[in-house]
Amino acid sequence: MNENGIRCDGRKVDQLRSISIKVGVLKNADGSAYIEFGKNKILAGIFGPRDVHPKHMANQDSGILRCRYHMSPFSVTERKNPAPSRREIEISKVIKEALQPAVILKDFPRTVVDVFIEVLQADGGTRCAALDAASVALADAGIPMHDLVSACAAGKVADQIVLDINNEEDQEGQADMPIAYMPNLGKITLMQLDGILSPSEYKKCIQTGISGCKQVYEIQRKALMEKYFGNETP
């Protein structure tokens, strides 16, 4: 970061990378979205509500949500083994738990909604970008939802709290805090932290993350509007 507070990729401390979201990009999925979040390129596809296999996972009183986050072998500098790593299994779980508060599956007992996420190219902050795409894809699939889930990381780089840290900043940075937020309900649904923050930095980091989530929300909303209402935005 230089003395004017400009970051290694030319952004200001409170600036997101450029984000574009396309809705309904897959023909065979019930809902889908493609997101470019900086250099991250991620697809999300939704199937369901549909029958649960294996059957013992089914819940008699509600539908269930499942999530698989996966990185393509070619998505990172060194080829990644295609088998799911422990990291991917953990991320699948936290993404599922970030989406659960938003979806309403009470009316679909004994069914499952599957969220499949494929990271085609990774450049830091994939779990947040993946969540942003998955949330839009769930809405595209017509799954009833309380709110969209918007996600974005904040962190500490060169002793400053910054929004949306990229891969380079993550490697050199002092802290990385991914946050997912439901903007209309004011609820944090994913929060993790790697790195060292004082209590006041902690507070500022969450606030910075939430402000980023609110910006992401507008982009998600616009992407959905574009698909369903074209240019004549109501």
């Binding site: 009183d61 944090i188 923050l197 004082s198 209590p199 507070k203 969450i206």
Partner: protein
């Protein structure tokens, strides 16, 4: 509704009713942990070990220290690997087999607490840069699963680390050779303490037991270091937290952590 769902709902109603009066099922205050007992050196064949009991949860943790190759991109650091397993004898619902997502999350959260606080100075564990380093392997075995495995495994891992001895290795013909009878203390920089809280309705409770975990809305694990900083966080569970609630959680985790840290410091 199935019977188990009705039972779970009744339990949640009862827990919430008590919380309204500031009480819990096991008579604790909202910010009280269950009694914690720590024994170290319980497995003499390990380089460090601990048996931790936190209420109805018990963990046996062993540390093995041996030379290894460094990770390709971290040639100037020793290796730290942390695993966890819920043994089939610990829980009627546990099954032997490959770790499921809960267990993987458990191991990674415990690992993150130790790694991100920089508890160990891994630079001091290098024998030959990029070629040979000392590896510290922390294996947590859950022997009794009574809720809040995150904190119990974390305390057991930290206790085992604080009390472990590092064997000495010398390089002969570019290969590490054990020097018999010479050991040193591990390079400890700070003591991480993990504090897990559950949100049930509007209430935040510290150290949830299994009944509370079964009906909680969401969970937050915050790890702090000796300097009073926040170093690692993991949110879990199927609902969320407001901004005020996560700030409140950090204000709880610091003093509760300080209390536990005093108990851990005695082990050094």
């Amino acid at each position: 509704m199935t019977n188990s769902v009705i039972l779970a709902q009744l339990k949640r109603d009862r827990i919430l009713e008590l919380l309204k009066e500031g009480k819990r099922l096991d008579d604790r205050g909202l910010e009280d942990q269950r009694p914690l007992s720590i024994d170290v050196g319980v497995i003499p064949k390990a380089n460090g070990s601990a048996r931790v009991r936190l209420g109805d949860t018990e963990i046996v943790t062993g540390i093995k220290i041996q030379p290894d190759k460094p990770f390709p991109d971290l040639g100037d650091k020793g290796i730290l690997i942390c695993t966890a397993e819920i043994l089939p004898l610990a829980d009627p619902n546990a099954e032997p087999g490959p770790p499921n997502e809960e267990v993987i999350e458990l191991a990674r959260v415990v690992d993150r607490g130790i790694r991100e606080t920089e508890m160990l100075d891994l630079h001091q564990l290098v024998l030959i840069e990029n070629k040979s380093v000392i590896g510290i392997f922390i294996d947590n075995s859950v022997t009794d699963a009574g809720g809040n495995l995150f904190d119990a495994c974390s305390y057991a891992s930290v206790a085992a680390l604080l009390s472990c001895t590092v064997p000495k290795y010398e390089i002969k013909d570019e290969l590490p050779v054990l020097v018999e009878g010479v050991t040193s203390k591990p390079p400890i920089k700070t003591i991480p303490v993990s504090v897990t809280m559950a949100r049930i309705g509007e209430y935040i409770v510290v150290d949830p037991n299994s009944d509370e975990e079964a009906c909680m809305d969401a969970r937050l694990t915050i790890t702090t270091n000796s300097e009073g900083n926040i170093c690692a966080i993991q949110k879990g569970g199927s609902d969320g937290f407001t901004f005020e609630q996560v700030v409140r959680c950090s204000e709880i985790a610091l003093p509760v952590g300080t209390k536990i840290r005093k108990q851990l410091e005695k082990l050094m």
